[in-house]
């Protein structure tokens, strides 16, 4: 399939990509125009999405047609937030906010610890009897990494020159090595994204790459 420079979709994509890349030279009006256009477009899309996915189905379908009147409570709570724009009555907006904070705290307490137990007992591993010597070594490394990284996050019992201090210092190195590996893999992913954009510009749009 040959390239089509004047295809509206390709042309729009290419102009927008190049406009965004101009930021690499310096901040400029072309970049600003497309940046603000992007923000505006997303904002309009969000309003449409929210209306069609949440507001309309809840009010028209759930409340009016199906008679699920309990849904009126969250609708009213949501509307109370708008009192923040009325200076003399903005205290009313604190009630839905309090509800949200309470809900958030409860949600964290109920669902976040769910992964704690498996994380603990999955660290109980044998250091021997695995398929190869490297697998055994890996198990030992995993154990050392977990306990030393945990020691790094002790805020009160850490003392220099003690076993906990040594473990915490080792943990710091373990964390840095892990983050270095994560950095490498993410940079690689970002380069892949950049290559994708270049393939679009030079292949799909200009047809230089086959």
């Amino acid at each position: 399939m040959g390239a089509n420079i004047f295809d509206p979709a390709n042309l729009t994509g290419a102009i927008m990509t190049l406009a965004v890349l101009t930021f690499l030279i310096k901040d400029n009006p072309v970049f600003d125009l497309f940046q603000n256009g992007f923000v505006g477009l997303y904002f309009a899309y969000s309003i449409g999405l929210t209306y069609h996915s949440y507001i309309r189905p809840t009010i028209v379908d759930d409340i009016a047609k199906k008679g699920q009147y309990s849904y009126i409570i969250p609708v009213v709570l949501g509307l109370l937030v708008y009192f923040m724009f009325v200076p003399s009555l903005n205290w009313i907006a604190r009630y839905p906010m309090s509800f949200w904070v309470g809900y958030g705290a409860g949600y964290i307490l109920a669902f976040q610890p769910g992964s704690l137990m498996p994380q603990i007992y999955n660290t109980f591993i044998k250091f021997y009897g695995k398929a190869s010597f490297l697998d055994n070594l890996n198990a030992i490394l995993l154990f050392i990494s977990v306990v030393t990284a945990l020691a790094y996050f002790f805020f009160t019992v850490r003392k220099q020159g003690t076993a906990v201090g040594f473990a915490a210092e080792t943990g710091r190195w373990v964390i840095m090595i892990a983050l270095g590996a994560a950095f490498g893999s993410t940079v690689l992913y970002r380069i892949t994204l950049f290559v994708g954009r270049m393939q679009f510009l030079l292949g799909d749009w200009l047809g230089i790459l086959k």
């Binding site: 923000v39 997303y42 904002f43 923040m84 983050l179």
Partner: protein, 271 residues
């Protein structure tokens, strides 16, 4: 019928599979924290918290912005109220806002979540009130940018270019927008303090920011900054809870290596 027959029987008639041990552990942690908070309230000695460089630098960053006559920017990231990192950011924001009010430095606070926006506005308003400067609070500086990740990032980039903050503080839950923020703030010469428990974003903060709080350190921030005995006691309690987990891992690993078959501690923790 088949599903009903296969469903696991609740442990002790109440607990879903794997939840009993979790419940007991939560009670143990709650007791430890309560005990330490009670000690702190009673004025008994509580251990010192080790130095956290990122938090020590906060006064310096806001002071620098004051001297340069440029604003401070604070973002809690993309997390909502169901995210513990956002809760950590709330405590941090209160301290930052109070310092900004004290030094009469403009604080620009951007948001990607409308509920978090409303809460942050109240936190900042309260901080200005406590600092004795309610008149200096400007609600226009607490901004909702967009709930879409990259539209939010583009808007924050735009703000960096136009307002050129001298200090950029990023505390909370971040995803791929983290490097966009950090790079642009670095581009305009802002001193940067970041903190998150999102492990995928930490490497970017470490490379692009001046100070980075790693994981658990962001949860210690409120206690560390406020120096309030009750929060201090709670932090000490959390530390002891971590020591408890540390001990569990050591014991469990010893059992795994010496018990011929299975691991009785794992069986208990799976209840």
């Amino acid at each position: 019928m088949l599903l009903a027959a296969e469903a696991a029987k609740p442990y002790l008639g109440v607990f879903a599979e794997g939840k009993f041990a979790q419940f007991v552990l939560m009670l143990v942690f709650a007791f430890i924290v309560w005990f330490m908070v009670t000690r702190a309230k009673a004025g008994m000695k509580v251990p010192e918290i080790r130095k956290i460089n990122g938090l020590e630098a906060l006064d310096e960053a806001i002071g620098r912005a004051t001297e340069m006559g440029r604003p401070v920017h604070f973002t809690p990231g993309l997390g909502g109220v169901g995210n513990p990192m956002t809760f950590a950011a709330f405590g941090f924001l209160g301290y930052v806002a109070k310092l900004c009010a004290k030094y009469d430095t403009r604080l620009i606070q951007t948001n990607a979540d409308y509920v978090v926006l409303a809460i942050n506005e109240e936190i900042i308003r309260q901080a200005y009130l406590e600092a004795g400067r309610p008149d200096a609070f400007n609600s226009d500086d607490v901004q909702f940018m967009s709930d879409q990740q990259f539209a939010y990032a583009a808007n924050v980039m735009n703000m960096f270019q136009k307002d050129k903050p001298a200090a950029n503080i990023m505390m909370g839950a971040f995803w791929a927008e983290s490097l966009i923020f950090a790079e642009t703030a670095s581009f305009v010469g802002a001193i940067q303090i970041a903190g998150t428990a999102a492990t995928a974003q930490l490497p970017f903060f470490i490379t692009a920011c001046d100070y980075t709080l790693i994981g658990e350190e962001i949860y210690a921030a409120s206690a560390y900054l406020s120096k309030e005995p009750v929060l201090y006691g709670s932090l000490v309690g959390q530390d002891w809870a971590k020591i408890f987990v540390f001990a569990l891992i050591l014991v469990g690993t010893v059992i795994a290596n010496f018990q011929a078959k299975g691991n009785w501690l794992t069986s208990i923790l799976k209840k």
